[in-house]
């Protein structure tokens, strides 16, 4: 009952906001399925079931009501984002372990919805890439490159049983990601130009994966249009990434990829619209959001270019999440009537 004003509210609820985020991921998922086969749908389903089950168990343990939190759709976002960050051929237990850790530890041990300082999906990803690095490299070769493609039944066999069709090895089916290939080939002395001539690359970045990134961006624009996310973080992130990559590329085009490559390779688009925009661990002030997103872009670029991990988005998110409390304190806006220089 409402005894205190205001007595009216806007209809958008947390659960609706989260639902729109899920909807916005659908174009990206569709592209993913087109280029890499339906295995990712299995990961998403597995992750969703694990997330809801873990959420329910944790709520029960914490004596919290199940219904409002199971229907807030936030666990599903964690599940989907994590599943989309993993190689599609990830074995079932990898998905389950990552998702369960994300929900149980990085969400509920910190107090559940709204209280997690770190993005749970990115914690799940970080745990997996540190604990099971080998399994995190089995990226499928995209459709259209003439490689061997598994049927859905064969994909299921591998995910749940680890069985590949006779005569096939994992190496024949998978490949390094475009970001990884770039890094290793640069080490071998090739120039960016030569590397980009390789068949795994498309017009912008990786063949296939660039289309997924474009689809993520389309979903992101839908989120901007429906005001689910604020424009400041994606814009600052992408602009900063473009500028930093651009400076390096202009200074040394032989060794540094073009800024557009950085935009459409790896998880940059997913990060810009779906990960850094997670409000819980993000900054809330105007200047804070600029610092947060620009910092994330810088870390993404540094890890991609100089680090040993294939992509930097997850760690960029986590490292900037740590800084948020401080950023927010530093960037408190002046309130009404206190703007005239403290008069």
């Amino acid at each position: 009952m409402m005894w205190s004003s205001p007595f009216v509210t806007q209809a958008t609820s947390v659960s609706q906001i989260m639902l729109r985020v899920l909807l916005a991921l659908i174009p990206g998922i569709a592209m993913y399925v087109w280029f890499f086969g339906p295995a990712v749908l299995v990961s998403i389903t597995l992750a969703s079931i694990t997330a809801l089950a873990t959420e329910a168990a944790m709520l029960k343990l914490r004596n919290r009501p199940l219904k409002p939190f199971l229907t807030d759709n936030s666990a599903l976002i964690t599940a989907w984002l994590l599943a989309l960050s993993l190689p599609a051929l990830a074995p079932w237990w990898l998905v389950v372990v990552g998702t369960a850790f994300a929900i149980a530890v990085s969400k509920h041990l910190y107090g559940g919805l709204g209280n997690n300082p770190f993005n749970p999906a990115m914690i799940g990803y970080a745990v997996l890439i540190i604990s099971f690095p080998a399994h995190m490299t089995h990226w499928l070769t995209p459709h259209g490159l003439g490689g061997i493609e598994l049927s859905f039944a064969q994909q299921l066999d591998y995910i749940f049983g680890g069985i590949l069709p006779s005569g096939l090895t994992l190496d024949a089916l998978t490949m390094a990601t475009p970001l990884d290939t770039l890094k290793t080939q640069l080490h071998l002395g090739l120039s960016v130009g030569d590397i980009r001539e390789m068949p795994i690359y498309g017009r912008l970045a990786g063949h296939g994966s660039e289309m997924v990134a474009i689809a993520y961006a389309i979903g992101g624009i839908y989120l901007l249009y429906t005001r689910v996310i604020n424009w400041l973080i994606p814009t600052t992130y992408l602009v900063t990434l473009f500028v930093i990559a651009g400076i390096f590329h202009l200074a040394d085009p032989v060794h540094y990829a073009a800024p557009l490559f950085h935009w459409f390779a790896g998880a940059a688009m997913l990060g810009a619209f779906f990960i850094f925009t997670d409000p819980v661990g993000g900054s809330t002030t105007f200047r804070g959001r600029i610092i947060y997103a620009a910092g994330a872009a810088l870390i993404t670029f540094l890890i991609r270019t100089f680090g040993s991990f294939p992509d930097g988005v997850a760690f960029a998110a986590l490292l900037m999440n740590i800084c948020v409390p401080l950023i927010d304190i530093w960037t408190q806006p002046k309130v009404f009537g206190k703007k005239g220089g403290g008069k």
């Binding site: 007595f7 009216v8 509210t9 807030d72 409000p279 809330t284 309130v335 009404f336």
Partner: protein, 560 residues
């Protein structure tokens, strides 16, 4: 065209104004009973001047203003005072307040009253008359008008802002008033212009009231009053927000508009002033919107003190009422009891129904989306204030400018987690006030204690003096007596000196006694206990230091 400024944030709640804005307003019939709270305005309550059994005439003084910030209360019609006793008053606390109860005699017989030639009298006299006429701001805050326009001699008003924004949903009283009585409002504005002598006068009206704008334009034709159409955006009718929109100036935090050369009054206040100066009528009635779950939502001119019950009945309530909102849905107060009277600050009564005002959805945790911060017209960070209020970290809430919150409700309106943010902020504010009161009480207790100690000391001193005087008298009687010799170190000494020495000796004795007497109960303590005692002593010393510093701060702030 005037270039408009804007304030940060704001929201567009569903307006629901057409329900009540299209019917002409009507005058309510005499109610069966009138209940007039003595405290209907900001400041001190009025002092009652009648008693049960008195017959009063319409417009007769019931209670006079006491103190500078106060306003008088008048009989809205003729009748008999049946009681002066507590009755529930329209206030969020719903606690009873002292009220004058009048039973109308049906004659509606006026007391002698006459128009006021306000230009012929000094301004101070005009202000005193406004105070006696009980005129307060009718925009909602009910700040006494005479206080607002009591300007210091060096204060200049650059802009007089007349508030016709009426930004709250459902409410249409100002809209109707402007449409129907534009000329009368302008008459009232002339009085305010006479008082404030502004360089410019601006009437701010939201663009969702085109007919009111047209009517006011017509009424102001030929004068230099400017009607400014402003975009519809809640809460542009907030005083500080409207001033920002119209003048670009920000009323400093904790300050008043007059401090930046702006005076601001509501159109309904201007109308009440017109009634007073042109007809000699004190503030005894006002316009109210009756809307919501009723058959004919409309505006009604109603006597102050009318039970809401009788007012709502005029609009024919529909079945399914789930309570009432006094005021608008954004800042109003929920009430269940319709026996509450109309007061000067009442502008609207909304009959709730489950359909129009569905019960609040259960609150979810804050997800830090900061939609509240984006909507806040005071540039606050409600998500942080919520966090600190919830944690009862009231120091931090003040650091984050809790008291700049105008409780407009925009934050709670946009919150996807349905957190009753304003409720949290009211809670934090009241806790802080409570603590301040407690600190003040402790301060008074400390002062009392010090005074008592001083008194005891003084009494001891006086006793010693008296004793010494006695002895002196005795010595004077027997000047050569050697008995007094032990204390008479110098026999040639002036008797007064000796007296002083005796007083000093007595004082030292008393002090020594006190010194030896006090620590007695702390002797034979274990080292731990001693350590604890030392710790407490240290803390005490720190407190008293803090207290004296705080006192010094108070002094300096008073000076500045």
């Amino acid at each position: 065209m005037r270039t408009l400024d804007h304030f940060h944030g704001g929201i567009h709640p569903a307006e629901h104004k057409l329900e009540s804005s299209e019917l002409p307003s009507r005058i309510a019939p005499l109610p069966s009973l009138l209940i007039l709270p003595l405290h209907q305005h900001i400041g001190a309550g009025a002092k009652v001047q009648v008693q049960a059994g008195d017959h009063v005439l319409k417009g007769q003084l019931l209670a006079s203003a006491q103190g500078m910030v106060s306003a008088a209360i008048h009989a809205p019609t003729s009748g008999t005072v049946t009681a002066v006793q507590p009755h529930t008053v329209p206030h969020p606390s719903q606690l009873p307040g002292l009220c004058v109860h009048i039973e109308p005699d049906g004659k509606d017989q006026w007391i002698d009253h006459a128009p006021l030639e306000y230009r012929a009298i000094p301004k101070s006299e005009l202000l005193a008359k406004l105070r006696e006429a009980g005129i307060v701001g009718l925009g909602g805050a009910t700040f006494p008008t005479h206080v607002k326009y009591s300007l210091a001699t060096d204060q200049r008003i650059q802009t007089l802002v007349i508030n016709g924004a009426e930004c709250e949903p459902w409410i249409t009283t100002d809209d109707r008033l402007m449409r129907e009585r534009a000329a009368e409002i302008v008459r009232g504005i002339e009085v305010l212009r006479h008082l404030a002598e502004p360089a410019e006068t601006l009437i701010g009206i939201e663009d969702n009231k085109p007919q009111a704008i047209a009517a006011m334009r017509a009424a102001c034709a030929g004068s230099d009053i400017e009607i400014v159409t402003i975009p519809t955006l809640y809460p542009s009718g907030g005083e500080k927000q409207l001033i920002k929109i119209l003048t670009g100036k920000e009323v400093p935090s904790g300050g008043r508009p007059t401090g930046i050369g702006v005076a601001c009054s509501n159109v309904a206040t201007a109308y009440a002033i017109h009634r007073f100066v042109d007809h000699g009528e004190p503030l005894i009635s006002r316009q109210m919107t009756v809307t919501g779950n009723v058959r004919t939502p409309q505006n009604i001119e109603v006597l102050i003190g009318t039970p809401l019950e009788e007012l709502v009945r005029l609009a024919e309530p529909l079945p399914g009422a789930t309570g009432y909102i006094l005021g608008g849905p954004m800042m109003g107060v929920h009430i269940d009891d319709l026996r509450l009277p109309v007061v000067k600050g009442s502008n609207c009564i909304i009959v709730k129904s489950a359909k129009l005002f569905p019960p609040a959805e259960p609150a979810m945790p804050c997800i830090r989306c900061a939609r509240c911060a984006a909507a806040c017209p005071a540039d606050l960070q409600p998500q942080e204030l919520h966090w600190f209020s919830k944690a009862r970290d009231f120091g931090k809430t003040q650091e984050y400018s809790l008291f700049d919150c105008i409780e407009c409700g925009a934050c709670a309106y946009v919150c996807p987690s349905h957190i009753p943010l304003v409720q949290y902020f009211r809670f934090a504010k009241s806790e802080i006030w409570q603590r301040e009161r407690e600190t003040q009480a402790a301060e008074i207790a400390r002062e009392r204690h010090e005074f008592r100690m001083e008194r005891i000391e003084r009494e001891k001193r006086e006793k010693a003096e008296r004793l010494a005087l006695k002895e002196k008298a005795a010595t004077a009687a027997k000047p050569a007596a050697p008995i007094a010799a032990p204390v008479m170190i110098n026999p040639d000494a002036d008797p007064d000196d000796t007296l002083q020495m005796r007083i000093d000796a007595a004082m030292t004795r008393a002090k020594e006694q006190a010194a030896t007497a006090q620590p007695r109960n702390t002797e034979n303590l274990t080292p731990q206990q001693q350590a604890k005692v030392a710790e407490i002593e240290a803390r005490r010393a720190k407190f008293s230091e803090l207290a004296s510093n705080a006192g010094a701060d108070d002094e300096s702030s008073k000076k500045s």
